[in-house]
Assembly symmetry: C2
Homo-oligomer: 337 residues x 2
DNA sequence: TTGTAAGCGTTATCAA
DNA sequence: TTGATAACGCTTACAA
C-alpha cells in the first residue's frame, strides 16, 4: 500500500523479496519458461508486493532492443490518417510495442527533425507517410540501420519497405469509371502538387486515363486547391464558370468533394444532373451526403496494420530485405455520378 | 560519408575525435554555455565528422529525466481529439519533448494498461483524456510521482492537474440558449452515459437548465445513442416519432447532429421550421452544412496547448501543486436554430 | 535452473 | 573550464 513517490523500486528489490538474483527476476519476467514454476510464482508475488514497474529505458539500453516505433505523419489533424494510426496502434499494442507520433507538416526538414528525434530515442523502427526525404534523413536512417515502412504512395525508390495503394492507378480507375458512365468533360481537382507526390501521382493517373481514352487533357479542367471544405466549394464554382463547363468533377483530395456537394445544395444544382461529383477517399460522410458521393475505398486501416506487421516481422528477424505491398482500392459507385 | 549500419557511434567516439573527455562532450551538447567556445566548436565538428546521434535512453537512465510525454485518448480515430493532439504536439516539440500516444477505447482497464506501459518507458508526464481510472492506475501514477493532466471534463476529484471546459456548463448554456430562442420542447441526445463522465455532465447541465426554467424533464426527450452519422439520423427519427414531438433537438456528442441534418434533407424537413438542431462541437463541417448548424465552440486546441504547457512548467520545477484550468466555450448561433 | 560479472551509453559528483 | 569515476537499472555471456 505504499503510494508515496519515494525511491524507485528496482529489480534488485524484487530479487531481494523473492530471495533470488536479479537475473532470475529478469528471466521470470521476460522468459518465464526458463524459470522453475515455483520461483516464477515467488517472483510474481514479490513484484506485486514491492510494486515493481520495469524500467524499459535500462532494459533497452542493455539489450540494445527497443519496443518503440516512430510514426511520422504529414498532419496530425487530418482525420484521413486516423484509420492508419489506429491500424498501427492496434498491431503494436498486441505485440507489446509503443507508438510515438510526430508531424512533418512543414516539409522534409520537419520530417528530418522528427526522424532524428526518434532515432535518438532508439526506436526499433519507423513508419513514414511521406516518401520525400532530405538527404540527411536518408543518411541517418541508413546509419541507424532501423527498418522503415513508407506509406504515402507506391514510390519507385523506397528506402526499405513500402505499404500503400497506387495513387496513380486509383486516379486512373476513377477517371475511366467516369468516362464509362458517359461523362465527356471530366475535371480534376487535387491538392497543390509541388511538394506532394500523392497529388502528382493522381494527376498522372488522370492524364493516363484520358490518354488511353484518346481524349485531350484540357488544362482548364485541372485545378490545384488547398485542403478544406470552402476550398472544394470554390473549386467547383471556378470550374462551372469556365466557358466550357465540365460535366463531372473528380475531387482527388481531402474533403474537397464534400465542400463541392454542399455548394451544389446551396445553389440548387442537381448532382449529377448539372454536374457529377466524385471523391477520392472513403470518409463516412460521403455515404450520408445528399446525394451520396461516388468515391474510392482506400485501404487506410489495412495500410496501418500491414505496416506495423511488416515492421514487427522484420524485427523478429524472420522477414528480411525490402518489400513492396500494393494494397487494393475499390470504386464505390453512388448517386452522385 | 559512412552510411553502413555498423557499430554505433557513441559519445566516446566524439570525445576522441575532439580530443576531450565524454563529460566535455556531454556539456557541449547539453549546456554549451559551460564550455569554452573553442572546445564547443571542436565538439560540434567532431559530432558532424563521426555522425553522432545521442542515445536518449542512456541519457535518461543516467539523469533520471525523460523527454517523453504519454497521451491517452479514448479513441485515436475520433477526429475531435485531433485538435488537442496537435496542440500538445506543437508545444512539446518546441520544448524538445516527444509524444507517445495510446488508446483507452475499451475502458479503464485499457487505460491502465496504457498508463503502465508509459510508466515503464519512464515518461516525464501523462495527459489523460478520461477522468475515470482504475484504482491500480491511480496507485501506479502516485507511486511514479509523475505529473498528470486530465482533460475530459472539469472533474471535482482530479488526480493532479485538470485542463478542460465544463461539459455541464456548456450543455446548460446551450439548453438555455435554445429556450431563449423560444423552443418549448427541447430534446437531448448524448452518447451512452454509463461509462462516460462527459455525457453525464452534459445531461446534468441540460437538467439544470430546465430546472432553472421551471420546466419538467420529459424522459421521452432524453436519448442515448452510440456515436456515428447513422446514429444521429436514427435518434432524430425516433424523437420525431414521439407522440409529443420536440421542437428542438440538442445533439451533445460526436457527429450526431450532422447525421440528423442530413436526414432532414432527405425527408424534406425544414430546419429549423420543422425541428431545430443544435450540436456540441465546432467541427468545420457544421458551418458548411445546409443549414449551417448552431453549436458550441470548444477550446479543443487550447486544451492541448495548456495541458502540455502546464506539464512542462511542472517539469521545469517552477509550477508546483495541483491546478485546475477552466477554459471557456462559446455558443455559435447559426441558421439551424 | 540459477547466479556472477561485465557491460549498455550516458550524466552526477567531486576533484583538479 | 575540464576530467576521472561511479552510478543509472537492466541484460548478455558465461559459469556453476
Amino acid at each position: 500500500m505504499e503510494e508515496s513517490p519515494g525511491r524507485t523500486v528496482r529489480m534488485r528489490d524484487v530479487a531481494r523479496a523473492a530471495q533470488v538474483s536479479t537475473m532470475t527476476v529478469s528471466r521470470a519476467l521476460n522468459t518465464p519458461e526458463r524459470v522453475s514454476p515455483e520461483v516464477r510464482q515467488r517472483v510474481a508475488e514479490a513484484v506485486q508486493a514491492v510494486g515493481y514497474v520495469p524500467n524499459r529505458l535500462a532494459g533497452s539500453l542493455s539489450s540494445r532492443r527497443s519496443n518503440m516505433v516512430g510514426l511520422v505523419l504529414p498532419s496530425i489533424e487530418n482525420s484521413l490518417f486516423a484509420a492508419t494510426v489506429k491500424g498501427v496502434s492496434d498491431v503494436l499494442r498486441r505485440a507489446g510495442h509503443h507508438l510515438m507520433i510526430a508531424e512533418s507538416g512543414y516539409g522534409p526538414e520537419a520530417e528530418e527533425a522528427a526522424i532524428r528525434g526518434f532515432l535518438e530515442q532508439r526506436v526499433a523502427g519507423l513508419i513514414l507517410h511521406d516518401t520525400l526525404h532530405t538527404e540527411e534523413a536518408v543518411r541517418l536512417i541508413r546509419r541507424a540501420g532501423v527498418p522503415v515502412v513508407e506509406n504515402g504512395t507506391l514510390t519507385p525508390t523506397p528506402l526499405d519497405m513500402v505499404v500503400s495503394y497506387s495513387n496513380r492507378e486509383a486516379a486512373r480507375a476513377m477517371t475511366r469509371h467516369l468516362a464509362r458512365l458517359g461523362y465527356r468533360r471530366i475535371a480534376l481537382v487535387t491538392l497543390p502538387a509541388a511538394a506532394n507526390q500523392r497529388s502528382r501521382d493522381r494527376q498522372a493517373g488522370y492524364r493516363a486515363a484520358l490518354a488511353e481514352l484518346r481524349r485531350a487533357v484540357d488544362p482548364a479542367l485541372m485545378l490545384e486547391m488547398p485542403p478544406g471544405l470552402a476550398s472544394g466549394a470554390e473549386a467547383l464554382l471556378r470550374l462551372m464558370d469556365r466557358p466550357r463547363r465540365p460535366d463531372a468533377v473528380f475531387f482527388a483530395g481531402d474533403v474537397l468533394a464534400v465542400g463541392a456537394v454542399l455548394e451544389c445544395q446551396r445553389r440548387g444544382w442537381s448532382v449529377p444532373g448539372d454536374v457529377a461529383i466524385a471523391a477520392f477517399d472513403n470518409i463516412d460522410l460521403l455515404a450520408h451526403l445528399n446525394p451520396p458521393v461516388t468515391t474510392l475505398r482506400l485501404p487506410r486501416h489495412e495500410i496501418g496494420v500491414r505496416s506495423a506487421e511488416m515492421l514487427l516481422e522484420r524485427l523478429s528477424g524472420r522477414q528480411t530485405g525490402p518489400a513492396a505491398v500494393d494494397l487494393r482500392f475499390e470504386i464505390i459507385q453512388r448517386a452522385s455520378t
